[in-house]
Amino acid sequence: MSAKGSLLEINNLNTGFRIKDEYYNAVDNVSLTLAKNEILAIVGESGCGKSTLATTIMGLHNAQNTRIEGEIFYKDLDLTKLNEVLYNKIRGNDIGMIFQDPLSALNPLMRIEDQIAESLSYHTSLTKAQQEQRVLELLDQVGIPNPKRVAKQYPHELSGGMRQRVIIAIAISCKPPIIIADEPTTALDVTIQAQILDLLKNLQEETEAGIILITHDLGVVAEMADRVAVMYAGQIVEQATVEELFTNPQHPYTRSLLNSIPREDEFEQELHVIEGTVPSLKNLPRTGCRFAPRIPWIAAEEHEENPELHEVSPDHWVRCTCYKHFHFRDEEGEA
C-alpha cells in the first residue's frame, strides 16, 4: 500500500483500553492511507474498533486509560505525538469529525447556533454577523427546514436526525481537507441521506477533501466509496476497491456479512447470522485467525499461524489463508 500523495497515512496503529491493570487493543496494528479526493469506507462488525480508530485520529482519548502506539501522519506531522494545544488547531480546521452519537457530542445547554458558531469563531475570522449568516447557511445546506427556528433551539428539542445534521454542519463548517464521518446518516431518512451524501460529494469537488466513511449500510458504501476496508476484531481483514469488494469478496467475514443482507421476498425465512458472538475486548483471541471461532467447520490447518494480509490481486488485500478454503456451512466444501 503506497503512501505516495496520501493525505493521511496510518502505520501500525494500536489503541488499547485499560481494563484493571492491563491494556487491550481495540485497534490492533492497523495501517491505512487516505488520498486527496478519495472516499475510504470502513465497515465491520459492531464493536470491531471503527469508532476507536476514528477518535484516535482525532486525538480524543485520554492518556490515563488509553495507550496509543504507531504513527498517524498528516502533512509530515505525526498526530500521535502532538500536544493538546496543536491538536485543538487541527481538530475542526484540518480534520472534521461527524460523531456516531450526536446527542452526546452536543452541549445540552447551548443553543444550536452557538454550538456551530463556536467552531467558526475558533478557526475563522468572520465577524459576528457573518457567523450568524454562515450558521443559517450551513443549517440550510444540511437540509434542516426552518433554520431560523432551529438555530434558537436546544439539542433535546430536535429529532434524532436533526441533531445528526447539526453535527454534520459543525464538521464541515471550516471545509476541512479531511472528514471522518462515523455513521453520518444512520438517523436520517433516505431522502435526507441522499442529500447529505450529495453534499459531501459536492464539498469534496470543491475542496478535494479525503473522507473516511464509517457505516454499516452497504448500500451507502456501494454508492459512495472508492475503496473499502473491512475490519474484524480490531484488525483489517480485507481491503479493495469498491467494485472489487462487492463483485469478488474473499475473506470469510466479508462474505458472511454480505450474506446477512435481507433479501427481497424472503419474509418467511430467518436472516443469515454469523455463528457465535464477538468476545469482549478482554477475551479477544490475540493469536491465530480471529475469525476462526466463528467458522468452526473450516479445518484448523486452513488458517495461518500468524495471519498476514496477502495481495490476492492488485490492491486487493486479504488476511489469513482461510479464504482459499472457505465455504458456508450449508454448502459443500470445494477442497
Binding site: 452519537d101 446477512s260 430467518e270 458472538t277 477475551n283
Partner: protein, 316 residues
C-alpha cells in the same frame, strides 16, 4: 378483538418560547392528527421524513410525551390519561427501545442494573433468578456474559443498542415501540436481533410499532406501513401496496432514494433519484395544501389509504 392499540386523531404540539419574557410565541406541530391501529401479533411500520414526528408518536404511546389532543385506546380501554394506565398494567405491557441508545442508558449504572430495572419495577425475583434472567437476555442479543458488570461507556454504539433491546423485552411486554432498534448494528447482528424479534412475536403474540429509516428492514419486518411527513401520514398500506404500488409523491421519492448495492450502476441510480426529486418539487402543489400541510387520507381500498386533495368535496 384483534386491535391492541388504537390511535385516534392524535396531536402533540410543542410550544416554542422566545423573547424576553420567554412567552409561548409559536408551536411545533410535531404530530398533527394521526389515526392508526396496531393489531395483536402484528408489526406496524412507521417510516418517513426525519423530524416528522415518529419518535413523538412512540413516546406518546408509552406515556413519555403528553398528548395535546386525541385518544389512545389499549385493548379497547382509554389510556390517554396517566391515571388510567396503572390499573391495567399498561406500563408493564408497553415498552420502548429508544432511538438514542447512549442517552437512554444511565451512565452511572452497571448493565445488570440497567436491564433488571424494569423487572424490579414489576416483579420480585431473588438475586440469583434475576442474574440468570439478565444473562439469558444478554445472550439473546448476542452479548457476552462479562458485560454484566460494565458501564455503558465501555460499549460500542451497536452494543449499547442491544442493551436497549434486552431491557425492553425483560418484562415480557405485549407491545414494543421499537424506535430504530437496529440502526447502529452490523448486518449480522441486525439479522440476529430481527430474527429474535420475529421469534418472540410468534411465541408470545407480541406487537411492534417499528420505526426505522431502513426500508429494507421495514420491508422484511412489517405487515402494515405508514409513511409520514410533517406530523401527518401521507400513505398507509400493506407491504406490497407501499413497495409495489406507491401513490403519494413522497412515498415514491423515499423509495427512489434507497441506496442500492450495485456499484456498476451507481451513476444511473443517482440520475433516477434526482429525476424523482425534481418531479417531487414540481408536483408539490398537488400533494400538499397552500400551507404545505398534508391532505387528509382518502381510502383506496380496505388496506390502502393515501393523502390526496379531495376533489369531490371541493365541488370541482
Amino acid at each position: 378483538m384483534t386491535e391492541l392499540i388504537q390511535i385516534k386523531d392524535l396531536k402533540v404540539h410543542y410550544p416554542i418560547r422566545s423573547g424576553f419574557f420567554n412567552r409561548v410565541t409559536d408551536y411545533v406541530y410535531a404530530v398533527d392528527g394521526v389515526n392508526f391501529t396496531i393489531e395483536k401479533g402484528k408489526t406496524y411500520g412507521l417510516v418517513g421524513e426525519s423530524g416528522s414526528g415518529k419518535s413523538t408518536i412512540g413516546k406518546a404511546i408509552v406515556g413519555l410525551e403528553k398528548t395535546t389532543s386525541g385518544q389512545i385506546l389499549y385493548d379497547g380501554k382509554d389510556v390517554t390519561k396517566r391515571s388510567a394506565r396503572h390499573a391495567i398494567g399498561y406500563n408493564k405491557d408497553v415498552q420502548m427501545i429508544f432511538q438514542d441508545a447512549m442517552s437512554s442508558l444511565n451512565p452511572k449504572k452497571r448493565v445488570i442494573d440497567i436491564i433488571a430495572e424494569p423487572i424490579r419495577n414489576f416483579e420480585r425475583l431473588s438475586d440469583q433468578e434475576e442474574k440468570k434472567k439478565v444473562k439469558s437476555l444478554l445472550d439473546i442479543v448476542g452479548m457476552p456474559e462479562d458485560a454484566l458488570y460494565k458501564y455503558p461507556h465501555e460499549f460500542s454504539g451497536g452494543q449499547r443498542q442491544r442493551l436497549g433491546v434486552a431491557r425492553a423485552v425483560a418484562t415480557n411486554p405485549k407491545l414494543i415501540v421499537a424506535d430504530e432498534p437496529v440502526s447502529a448494528l452490523d448486518l449480522s447482528v441486525q439479522a440476529q436481533v430481527l430474527n429474535f424479534m420475529k421469534r418472540i412475536q410468534e411465541e408470545y403474540g407480541l406487537s411492534y410499532l417499528f420505526i426505522s429509516h431502513d426500508l429494507g428492514v421495514v420491508k422484511y419486518m412489517c405487515d402494515t406501513i405508514a409513511i409520514m411527513t410533517k406530523g401527518r401520514f401521507v400513505e398507509i398500506g400493506t407491504r406490497e401496496e407501499i413497495y409495489t404500488n406507491p401513490q403519494h409523491i413522497y412515498t415514491k421519492r423515499l423509495l427512489s432514494a434507497i441506496p442500492k448495492i450495485d456499484v456498476a450502476h451507481r451513476k444511473e441510480h443517482m440520475e433516477t433519484r434526482r429525476k424523482v426529486d425534481q418531479e417531487y418539487h414540481t408536483l408539490q402543489k398537488e400533494y400538499y395544501d397552500e400551507a404545505g400541510r398534508v391532505y387528509d387520507l382518502q381510502t383506496l381500498n380496505a388496506t390502502h389509504q393515501v393523502a390526496l386533495r379531495n376533489v369531490e368535496s371541493e365541488g370541482v
